[in-house]
């Protein structure tokens, strides 16, 4: 699938292979949902081209604009858009127009069974749980053999316990359907869990695209770094000794990076929270890490088997440590510590506006 859209603030070019999933990640208002709507034919871009499996759906240059019912995208809307006046099986049967009328009930109930909704065929959508509603929306979208799968914030309406299950289901369904899948989300973790490839959209432009790991490892801008969960500090870069770049941080202190600062001057420094270690404030300087910032603990939050420590080091900083370290260092709001991390774990990225 190859998409070029142009709207006042939207210009993207993306392609997805059949059986693969592309995630478009960005903040609300970045134009993510508009991309899906344009692909499905629910919105007409001012200019551009959309094609799928060799067939052109939309092309302003050639004057092609297929209606949504001809494109037949399996679209799972953010709020699922299940028909409230129809029972679950009728929602599924709605898309089964190629199936003879007498066989639709059987076909729909069979599909509901596959989606773990057996016994709920006659239930109204309003009576279903969030996870059930999502599976019903998926069953409905996939029932009629869609040519592409479009998912809008597929996990946002689910509670944490349903998410893990949903991730597994969505991945296997997308592979099984063997059609290109595009999902949009504001959550990078959601994108990396579900997609083979991630495109980051900012102000209607794709600013970086690649597999989730490479985006997290090599963010192209402060915006992408922030989105992928890195801590971002701003400062002014200059060439230091031995090919190391030194950044005078805006909040005081200096951070070193093994990255070459392509444009020296105003830059952002990105580091993953799990690369940041904490030492007592009065610890002797020892070991190799080059970056040492005195900081005050602002918050301490347990996240699974880790502890996220919010710090004020002139600029906000986050470190992830073990529960044992929390005890040893006596981490609580107000405690003084030193944040330490290696220059080689420090990325220098362009500042951007994000």
């Amino acid at each position: 699938m190859d998409t070029t859209l142009r709207d006042l603030n939207l210009r993207v070019e993306l392609s997805v292979q059949a059986g693969r999933t592309l995630a478009i990640v960005g903040p609300s208002g970045a134009g993510k949902t508009s991309v899906l709507r344009a692909v499905a034919g629910l919105m007409r871009p001012r200019e551009g081209r959309v094609s799928c499996a060799g067939r052109t759906w939309f092309d302003t240059a050639a004057g092609v604009d297929e209606p949504p019912e001809v494109r037949r995208c399996g679209y799972v809307f953010q709020d699922y858009a299940l028909f409230g006046h129809m029972s679950a099986w009728r929602n599924v049967a709605y898309g089964l127009r190629d199936v003879p009328r007498s066989e639709r009930h059987a076909a729909s109930t069979a599909l509901l069974g596959r989606f773990g909704l057996a016994g709920l065929a006659d239930a109204r959508p309003a009576t279903l749980s969030g996870g059930e509603r999502q599976r019903l929306a998926l069953a409905r979208a996939l029932a009629s053999g869609p040519r592409a799968l479009l998912l809008d914030e597929p996990l946002s309406a689910l509670d944490a316990s349903t998410r893990a299950r949903s991730v597994r289901e969505l991945r296997s369904l997308a592979e099984e359907a063997a059609v290109p899948a595009v999902l949009v989300t504001h959550d990078f973790e959601e994108a990396s869990a579900l997609a083979d490839e991630v495109a980051v959209i900012e102000d209607g432009r794709i600013v970086q695209q690649g597999d989730p790991d490479s985006l997290a490892a090599e963010p192209a801008s402060a915006f992408v770094a922030d989105l992928t969960g890195s801590v971002v500090l701003t400062g002014r870069a200059s060439a230091g000794a031995g090919g190391v770049t030194e950044v005078a941080l805006d909040g005081g202190g200096i951070a070193s990076s093994t990255d070459a600062a392509a444009p020296t001057g105003q830059v952002a420094v990105a580091v993953h929270p799990w690369e940041v270690a904490l030492e007592p404030a009065d610890a002797a300087v020892e070991g190799s890490p080059r970056n040492r910032l005195p900081a005050t603990v602002r918050s301490v939050t347990a996240v699974g088997n880790r502890v996220r420590v919010g710090l004020d080091a002139g600029q906000p900083l986050v470190a992830e440590v073990t529960p044992a370290a929390r005890e040893e260092l006596g981490l609580r709001p107000g405690a003084r510590v030193t944040a330490v991390w290696k220059a080689s774990a420090t990325r220098i990225v362009s500042r951007g506006d994000g």
Partner: protein
């Protein structure tokens, strides 16, 4: 003075309003005893009037639904230049005095009216004819339906319509299978309102179609004529109209309450 004087004023105002609004209705039933009521309904004029009212309002309602439903859907789901102006034009008959509506209908479709020649060429006679009653009813009652239908369609989640399209349904099928069922309670409420208005219509019909027994004399017109000669018959016919109107109002309430429970709004009654 006690600090509780204001709640007392509120209660007094409500009691006064309820008494004033229900007394005439109650009086109709109190004055017309059950026996007299049945006797009077045996009257030819009353029977003719009720039958004509039933036929003309039903046909008028069918026309209103057939044209008003798609028109309201267009107004509700598409934004175009001048939409607000069009909406206002459609609602205009709500505030036009019925007698003025009758004059307007004569000026438009009467023998010497704007389209009078065209109507005559088509072999249709409206003035002093049953068809004219239907035209008058459609004119005065359709805004009640269109307004309500527009609000009902606006309350349908637009992503439902999009979802229907991506599932292979054309615009027409989406309208028939998703929009209309989803808006059904609001449409039904609009139907009841329009029917109630048509049933009570008097002024426009009198001016445009006249009051001839069995041809253009609907129940309200018959009531006015009987009032001069047979007050008991007028009372009896009034009682029937009150009963039917009350049933329609109850229907509206039933459907609107159903909608509110689902969190969808209903346009206020004009």
């Amino acid at each position: 003075m006690s600090r509780r004087w204001f709640p007392a004023v509120l209660v007094a105002a409500l009691v006064l309003a309820v008494a004033f609004l229900t007394l005439p209705i109650a009086a109709i039933f109190l004055e017309a005893g059950p026996g007299e009521l049945l006797d009077s309904l045996g009257d030819d004029q009353a029977i003719d009037a009720l039958r004509l009212s039933l036929i003309t309002t039903s046909i008028a309602l069918a026309i209103i639904l057939l044209v008003g439903t798609p028109a309201a859907y267009l107004l509700a789901t598409r934004s175009f230049r001048g939409r607000d102006a069009v909406t206002t034009l459609v609602e205009l008959p709500l505030v036009v005095p019925p007698a003025v509506a009758g004059i307007g209908l004569l000026a438009a479709f009467g023998p010497s009216g704007l389209l009078g020649g065209a109507v005559e060429d088509a072999g249709v006679r409206l003035v002093f004819e049953t068809a004219g009653v239907i035209v008058a009813l459609v004119f005065v009652a359709s805004p009640f339906y269109v307004r309500q239908a527009q609000a009902a369609f606006q309350a349908v989640d637009p992503t439902w319509l999009g979802a229907s399209r991506t599932l292979g349904a054309s615009e027409a099928r989406t309208f028939a299978r998703v929009a209309i069922p989803a808006a059904a309670p609001g449409l039904a409420a609009g139907m009841a309102l329009a029917w109630g208005r048509a049933l009570g219509e008097f002024g426009a019909t009198l001016v445009f179609a006249g009051s001839f027994q069995g041809v253009t004399q609907t129940a309200p017109l018959a009531i006015v004529e009987l009032f001069g000669s047979d007050f008991d018959a007028a009372l009896a016919l009034s009682a029937v109209l009150v009963a039917v109107s009350a049933a329609l109002l109850a229907t509206v309430k039933l459907f609107t309450r159903g909608r509110e429970r689902r969190g969808a709004g209903v346009a206020g009654l004009a």
